[in-house]
């Protein structure tokens, strides 16, 4: 390929020093931190957005599949292109473009290393919250691609909570800017975690936080994993939200201590690293209460870092947990599963049993506060039998997480390695929708084409409708009734107007068919330990809040009317609604039930399509069920009167909006006066 016309065109565009093509130059791009290895046909190192655009256009012209790569630290083969494909390595797009201390925002390029951003912000008293364990090397672009988390996301949230705007090069070479402040669908939210399958972020706007006044880090040992997990549950049930709650098992601690000498107790079965931060008058009593809860559960060797150096040391031990395992064997497979927090002990027990059954050595670490587990299995990839056992065990462990109501990835992503496991989590109609979203952005199917979504199966066929909807209101009380009505509307081409409490009746013209959601008010699941609530979309919010408050539980969702109505229209609410939603079920214009998310705090499996419903004004589907975070403390919720529906036809990203709309509602059935079909 070294003399192919494609390579010549790349060299002519970027210059020779930015195009790699010999086998020796390409080989280092055949791998990332996972096990996949495929040799690309070319690697480019662009320096500007314009160069990225030119490269993407050439790839499209020559029909070459491509993928963007940051530091290549990802753990699911997400940056490995099909053999002979093109790697777009953004390491030279690594500038910190601007910092706006007033608005606490910064624009960065995708190749900027997460730690370098931290170092630049520190002198200004600011920080960027997501801090994955690979922070020293990983890039902001990679963090956006995988919706990276890290130990501190228990309190501060994951990457999608902190990315506020993007400049994107779409797979056709077009450039758009999107922002969370934009009217219309939350394309920013959709892009975060899309693993480079929807385009390439060339500029990223991130949200910054003021450094907390005080940070307290403590370490405590337990004689069993169960006792550690119980302590975690107790701390959160007590209304304390630590910055992080990390647990490590004995093998991990031994591996870490051998290198870092952080003073971790090597004889304990489980070690808990707890950090609280905030104003001193909060952290001091909190750490005292935490100490008491640790004592109650039999914690020993409790110690608090006395200075910054000791604190760094404790963290170095935790951050190096994965790499330290490499001292014990040539390879480490880091699994990544997530379960409802309360199911953690059960998950640990089952995962241990799987490792034992396959005769594997495994260390276990977990972001326990989030229910996010990382079994680290050590092996030697040169031994095909051992490798197969490790991969098999990994799959079984993911199955365990799914069976316990969790997900197959909390923060590492799906990439090439977990595509097939997506079927355990998502129904065929939801997977079909994901493919449609992918197609909306990338019709030529060249942009990281073999990731995230399992290989296509047959699209769901139309199911029987039965009747032609009449004019006037249908008050539905079950998901089946919604499905029946939407399917009938679909088959007869009848427009459907969705109405909640009726506060926006002006939206509905006379003589139309109206789906009234207020009958969908059942409480589906209230998990007090896990602090999650699943409830149907037509529930009236004020009544729901009153009920919950009787139990000392709080929703951080303001506004009145139905939950579905507030989510669809209230984009200006504070705290932002997008951080409160863990899962969502909706009926699409195809008359299919879509289901996203789970009752877990972190979940990066699949596109974050649930967020598209925020601010969509009912134009994508009928929200039938929502899973929300619950809190032990109230906050002031501010819900401004909705600014009115966006003028979808006047948006700068109208074309993309239409494509996304078509993926959910190809016939423009829902609320067609708000988002009218193209003329």
């Amino acid at each position: 390929m070294s003399h192919s016309p494609f390579l010549s065109a790349l060299r002519a565009t970027l210059g020779r020093d930015a195009v790699l093509s010999g086998k020796g130059e390409l080989f280092p791009y055949a791998y990332d931190a996972a096990l996949d290895q495929r040799l690309p046909g070319a690697v480019v190192l662009p320096r500007t957005t314009a160069e990225v655009v030119a490269v993407v256009r050439l790839a499209r012209e020559y029909g070459v599949p491509f993928a963007v790569r940051g530091a290549g630290t990802n753990l699911c083969g997400g940056t490995i292109v099909p053999t002979g494909g093109l790697v777009i390595h953004v390491s030279r797009l690594n500038r910190l473009l601007s910092i706006d201390p007033e608005r606490r925002r910064a624009w960065v390029e995708p190749g900027l290393i997460n730690l370098h951003l931290h170092k630049s912000l520190a002198p200004r008293g600011l920080f960027y919250a997501p801090d994955p364990a690979s922070q020293k090397a990983c890039t902001l672009g990679g963090n956006v691609g995988t919706n990276a988390g890290g130990p501190h996301c228990l309190k501060y949230g994951v990457t999608s909570h902190h990315v506020t705007g993007l400049e994107l090069v779409l797979p056709d070479g077009g450039v758009i800017r999107v922002s969370v402040d934009d009217a219309g669908f939350d394309l920013t939210g959709l892009f975060v975690g899309s693993e480079g399958t929807l385009g390439i972020a060339t500029k990223i706007e991130v949200n910054l936080l003021p450094q907390p006044e005080d940070v307290r880090t403590c370490l405590v040992a337990f004689s069993s994993m169960e006792a550690a997990a119980q302590t975690v549950t107790d701390i959160i049930a007590a209304g304390i939200v630590p910055a992080s709650l990390e647990v490590m098992d004995r093998l991990t601690v031994a591996a870490v201590e051998a290198f870092v000498h952080a003073g971790y107790p090597t004889s304990a079965e489980a070690v808990l690293l707890i950090e609280v931060d905030g104003p001193r008058d909060q952290t001091i009593p909190e750490s005292r209460r935490i100490r008491a809860l640790c004592d109650k559960n039999g914690g020993t060797d409790f110690r608090t870092a006395v200075d910054e150096r000791e604190r760094e040391k404790l963290w170095e031990g935790r951050r190096g947990a994965y790499a330290a395992m490499a001292r014990l064997a040539p390879n480490v497979l880091v699994e990544d599963g997530v379960v409802p927090r309360t199911r953690l002990p059960e998950a640990v027990k089952k995962i241990r049993a799987i490792a034992d059954r396959h005769h594997l050595r495994m260390g276990l670490i977990a972001h326990a506060g989030d229910g996010n587990l990382h079994p680290n299995m050590i092996f030697d990839e040169r031994d095909p039998d051992e490798t197969a056992r490790v991969l098999g065990a990994g799959q079984e462990m993911m199955r365990v997480c799914v069976d316990l109501g969790g997900s197959i990835s909390g923060e590492h992503g799906i990439g090439a390695d977990k595509r097939e496991a997506m079927r355990w989590l998502f129904s065929p109609p939801t997977l079909f929708l994901f493919r449609e979203i992918k197609r909306a952005f990338d019709p030529a199917h060249l942009c990281n084409p073999d990731k995230l979504i399992p290989v296509a199966d047959v699209p769901p066929g139309p199911r029987g409708a039965g009747f032609v909807p009449h004019e006037g209101a249908y008050s539905v009380v079950s998901v089946d009734e919604v499905l029946g009505l939407v399917r009938s509307a679909r088959d007869s081409g009848t427009a459907l107007f969705i109405q909640g409490s009726g506060s926006k009746k002006w939206m509905v013209p006379d003589g139309k068919t109206v789906l009234v959601t207020t009958g969908l008010h059942r409480l589906v699941d209230l998990d007090r330990g896990n602090l999650t609530l699943s409830v149907m979309g037509g529930v009236e919010l004020p009544a729901l809040r009153t009920e919950l408050e009787k139990e000392g539980l709080f929703l951080h969702v303001g506004g009145s009317g139905t939950l579905g109505g507030v989510l669809s229209t209230n984009t200006g609410a504070r705290p932002s609604l997008r951080h409160q939603i863990l899962g969502l079920k909706a009926v699409s214009g195809d008359g299919e039930l879509l289901s996203f998310g789970a009752k877990v705090m972190k979940n990066v499996a699949g596109y974050d399509a649930a967020r598209l419903f925020l601010g969509a004004w009912g134009t994508l589907g009928v929200i039938v069920e929502v899973t929300l975070r619950l809190h032990r403390t109230p906050v002031e919720c501010w819900a401004p009167a909705p600014a009115g529906p966006p003028n979808f036809s006047g948006l700068s990203t109208e074309e993309l909006h239409r494509k996304v709309k078509a993926a959910f509602d190809p016939q423009y059935l829902f609320n067609p006066t708000l988002f009218a079909p193209p003329r």
Binding site: P28, T73, N94, H116, A137, F259, A324, R327, V332, A416
Partner: protein, 429 residues
């Protein structure tokens, strides 16, 4: 998991004992990539192939027959051997050491480097011959012939490496340290090791060290030592490195009680590493250990035997650049800073990224001029940011590079070896 059939990892065919050891070491690189953002050549180029992980994986693939030597060469040759990667690697993969072995394997496979090998094995071990030749070359430098050739582009035309070399060497002393310092008697306290930098390029450094020793009242002298063997390691001719080490060991055994004081950190690190040169030769290994144990970097020596310093008259603002061979190979981080804290009348400012290589890397600055320049530029910017008037270091390789990049940046900052500053203020006891 999908792997191209020809990229499937399989145990390497058995090579030499040294290669097998190297293979076992490289297996512990599990591709986490945490090293990449510290590597000066990766930071300068953004190319994974020029990162520690890229080098380790390339070396592994070469040994497993997945890559050819000609494909792997670029990755190996561009390594500065600074060792920062190992310092951040949880598995402690010794990439710099692996790269010496990798370069040797490639050279053996390609049968290349004949003249270089001849130089390393037959000229460098003979000081009269080597230093004589050097003095002849220096005549060219002194008379301005080489500068003229450079200005006319002749050197560049022959090789950009020659051009870079001509630019980097800014001194051409007519007398070497060997000529200037007295030879040691058998029972001296200190043998002042003749490192090539202070010996042949910057004798003023050696004279400063000698002055300090005199002030300290230490009986010292030079011995008939030769190059420490570092160039053999860098060029991947480990046999040449052993030839040089053996010659030195034989000489130094004649001074059984002397501390071997080395005022160039690159050299000191190599002398301390001699035992590792002889892993398959127990007899020489034992002899090397006995000698290496007595080796001290001048930074350590001065920390153990502090000087009484008079106040510097210059009122300088001083910063310090860590030579990689001091910081990573010998772990000397606090020592130079403590030494500078003891100098009255100067203001010390920590250099941002002091732990990053300057891009000198011995002959690297001539062999890989472009990368070296890019790495050096970053160093020059960091030096400028401190506002210092003086930058100090502990290796001639760094010194040449610092002076070269500062000159190119039209900076007024001056670069010196730390002993030059300390010798100035050293008061007799």
């Amino acid at each position: 998991m999908t792997v191209d059939p020809d990229l499937i990892s399989r145990p390497a065919a058995p090579g030499s004992k040294a290669e097998s050891r190297s293979y076992d070491d490289v297996m512990h690189c599990n591709r986490c990539g945490f090293c990449t953002s510290f590597c000066p050549t990766y930071l300068a180029t953004g190319d994974e192939g020029l990162s520690p992980r890229g080098r380790n994986q390339t070396w592994r693939a070469l040994m497993e027959g997945r890559l050819d030597p000609s494909d792997a060469k670029r990755s190996f040759d561009t390594c500065l051997l600074c060792g920062i990667c190992t310092s951040v690697c949880f598995a402690q993969v010794p990439t710099a050491r692996l790269m010496s072995q990798a370069r040797e394997t490639v050279r053996n496979a390609q049968g290349a480097g004949g003249p270089l090998r001849f130089f390393l094995r037959h000229i460098l071990p003979r000081p009269t011959l080597f230093e004589g030749l050097l003095k002849i070359l220096y005549v060219g430098k002194k008379t301005g012939v080489s500068r003229l050739l450079n200005r006319w582009g002749v050197l560049r035309w022959i090789s950009p490496r020659l051009e870079a070399a001509e630019e980097a060497v800014d001194r051409a002393p007519t007398s070497f340290l060997r000529d200037l310092l007295p030879a040691a008697e058998k029972y001296v306290e200190v043998v002042h090791f003749l490192s090539c930098g202070p010996n042949c390029v910057n004798p003023e450094i050696g004279l400063a060290t000698a002055h300090i020793l005199k002030v300290q009242g230490v009986r010292a002298g030079t011995a008939n030592t030769v190059c420490c063997g570092l160039p053999g390691q860098s060029f991947g001719d480990l046999e040449a490195a052993r030839i040089l080490a053996r010659k030195n060991i034989e000489v130094l055994e004649n001074y059984p009680q002397a501390t071997i004081l080395i005022d160039d950190s690159s050299c000191a690190a190599t002398v301390k590493e001699w035992p590792r040169f002889f892993e398959d030769d127990p007899v020489w290994r034992a002899r090397a250990e006995a000698v290496s144990r007595r080796a001290k970097d001048v930074l350590e020596w001065l920390t153990l035997r502090p000087l009484d310093l008079s106040a510097s008259s210059e009122n300088s603002v001083v910063t310090y650049h860590d030579a990689c061979k001091a910081r990573y190979a010998q772990g000397l981080v606090t020592e130079p800073r403590r030494l500078l804290a003891g100098v009255p009348g100067i203001e010390y400012r920590e250099l941002p990224e002091a732990d990053q290589c300057c891009g000198g890397g011995g002959t690297y600055q001539f062999m890989q001029p472009e990368i070296s320049k890019a790495v050096g530029q970053r160093k020059a910017e960091n030096i400028a940011a401190t506002g210092a008037t003086l930058v100090l270091t502990s290796s001639v390789s760094c010194l040449l590079q610092l002076r070269s990049v500062l000159r190119k940046a039209k900076s007024k900052v001056q670069a010196f070896h730390i002993v030059e500053l300390l010798a100035k203020g050293a008061k007799p006891l």
